[in-house]
């Protein structure tokens, strides 16, 4: 199939449709809206349910209901709307039914703005809802990757009966890039046994997240944790750039990652031995490769469009064995490649330390430029 120039939000919507999306429920919010709008036209064309819910609460609970039937279902939103879904997402996690959420993050906190940001990493990766659970989180850096990961999201959600989040930012949603859309998949024919559908005289099925008896709830929690160990074992994905001979490594996901790529290239042109590690699954986090790099390289630079959230996951792996520095822009500001290049050079020039916290150093520098 030929590549076409397509907007990220539209591409994700069409990809979901072709991956066999059987029911979509959502609520408009910039910079995600084109996704909902595309499906508002396409789903009815194909005779599949599309509902513009009364709110994000409505949307996520409609998804909850559809997920309990074992059908492929999804919703999409952006930061404030996703915050409203936290209770529902926790219920879905506790009920162990598969669902897909596309989160097109914007500048926060609060109403903030509609510019691209990564400030919701912790919310999605480290449990914004109540209780112990993990989402499988895919972080595309291009429209093509968003398309491919959207298709993958449904397969993983069903494989693990787990929520899968496609975590992107406003720029990927709004950007047009050449992308090849996936072929149409036939709709699933057999439904999993746990899915409700009416007993038709057989055994009744109950799907719930309540266990008034704590030990029962604990067993469920244990099941979630072991499933997560499985996922950590099987589903880690990342992309390496120029790492073979790298002495310095930039770590960045999504748009921050691709911006860093430009900077890394520029640095290479200047003879700096720097590479880029771009996590594609931010959860499960690519710990092993990072661990291995830690033995090999001189220092790390974490680049994010937030105040340093994935940074802590990197530090948990590096554990002080090598210096880790941070560069981030917040509140919807996108870093430019040359800013990242400057940070890479600072890394190379040193001096470097493993003491203190990289955030403090970064904030001190940032205050001078924008404070």
């Amino acid at each position: 199939m030929a590549k076409e120039l397509i907007k990220g939000n539209t591409a994700v919507a069409e990809a979901a449709l072709r991956a066999g999306l059987e029911a979509y429920f959502g609520y408009p919010i910039t910079p995600q809206t084109e996704l909902l709008e595309h499906l508002s036209a396409r789903m009815p064309e194909l005779g599949r349910p599309f509902v513009q819910a009364e709110s994000e609460l409505g949307a996520i609970n409609m998804v909850y209901g559809a997920a309990c039937t074992g059908k492929r279902t999804m919703t999409s939103s952006s930061s404030p709307g996703v915050s409203l879904m936290m209770e529902g997402l926790s219920y879905i996690a506790g009920t162990e039914v598969p669902a897909v959420l596309v989160d097109v993050v914007r500048g926060g906190p609060g109403l903030g703005n509609i510019a691209p940001a990564q400030g919701d990493y912790n919310q999605i990766v480290h449990g914004g809802g109540h209780g112990d659970y993990h989402f499988l989180v895919l972080a595309p850096a291009s429209v093509q990757e968003a398309v491919d990961l959207t298709v993958l999201a449904f397969d993983l959600a069903e494989k693990y009966r787990n929520v899968v989040v496609v975590l992107m930012d406003g720029s990927i949603g709004q950007m047009m890039e050449p992308a090849e859309l996936p072929p149409f998949q036939p709709l699933k024919t057999e439904i999993p046994d746990w899915a409700v559908r009416g007993t038709d005289g057989g055994e009744k099925r109950i799907l719930t997240s309540i266990n008034l008896d704590p030990p029962a709830q604990e067993v469920m929690n244990l099941r979630l944790m072991k499933r997560w160990q499985e996922i950590e074992k099987n589903e880690v994905r990342f992309k390496e750039y120029y790492l073979e001979d790298a002495e310095y490594v930039v770590v960045g996901f999504g748009t921050a990652g691709r911006i860093s790529l430009s900077a890394v290239r520029a640095a290479r042109e200047q003879g700096i031995k720097v590479g880029l590690l771009r996590p594609i699954t931010v959860a499960p986090f690519p710990k092993d490769i990072l661990n291995e790099l830690t033995d090999r390289v001189k220092a790390f630079l974490v680049v994010e469009m937030n105040a340093g959230q994935m940074l802590e996951d990197v530090r948990l792996v590096v554990r002080g064995r090598k210096p880790v520095e941070f560069f981030g822009r917040m509140g919807g500001v996108m870093p430019y490649p040359d800013e990242v290049l400057t940070e890479i050079k600072r890394l190379v020039e040193g001096p470097l330390t493993t003491e203190g916290h990289p955030k403090d150093r970064w904030l001190a520098r940032l205050s001078e430029t924008i404070g």
Binding site: E4, I114, Q174
Partner: protein
């Protein structure tokens, strides 16, 4: 080789479309390309712009602060972007909407009365096409015929 083009103007001047056309052309020529608009409600009525990056290899940042080329369809756009054009880059100015000289000396400046030309060509709505043509004529990136082609291939309805 990578070129970064910013096209800026009033909402009504078709800057986003011009950028998309440029992108389709690049796509047809087998190049990597990204198109990203300035988006949001504040755009309503106000000024709009888009950034198009064309490259031979995987594109990193879809945004740049020092573009290699800028099309300024009106005065505010010139004010905003003149200083940002990379040394040696190209700046195409719509003289019909800009009543001042360009200051930069280290870049190639192309100033044309695009609205008038477009009207002569039959429709003021083609002003953006005129500006795009002027850019491509002065930038070794893509041929005008390629643009024509792309126009037919991808955007007949918009024609």
């Amino acid at each position: 080789m990578q070129q970064e083009v910013i096209i800026a103007g009033f909402g009504g001047q078709g800057v986003l479309f011009a950028g998309q056309l440029l992108s389709y052309t690049a796509l047809d020529q087998g190049k990597e390309v990204t198109w990203i608009p300035s988006y949001g409600p504040e755009m309503r009525g106000g000024t709009a712009n888009c950034t198009v990056v064309v490259s031979d290899e995987e594109i990193g940042s879809p945004l740049v602060n020092r573009p290699t080329a800028v099309i300024a369809m009106n005065l505010p756009s010139l004010e905003k972007f003149e200083d940002l054009v990379k040394e040696g880059g190209v700046l195409v100015v719509n003289a019909s909407m800009v009543n001042r000289e360009v200051q930069r000396k280290d870049i190639k400046v192309v100033s044309i009365p695009a609205n008038e030309i477009a009207m002569e060509l039959g429709s003021e709505r083609a002003t953006n096409m005129v500006m795009l043509g002027a850019l491509l004529g002065n930038l070794d990136l893509l041929s005008l015929d390629a643009v024509e082609e792309a126009l037919d291939n991808h955007l007949p309805e918009r024609h």
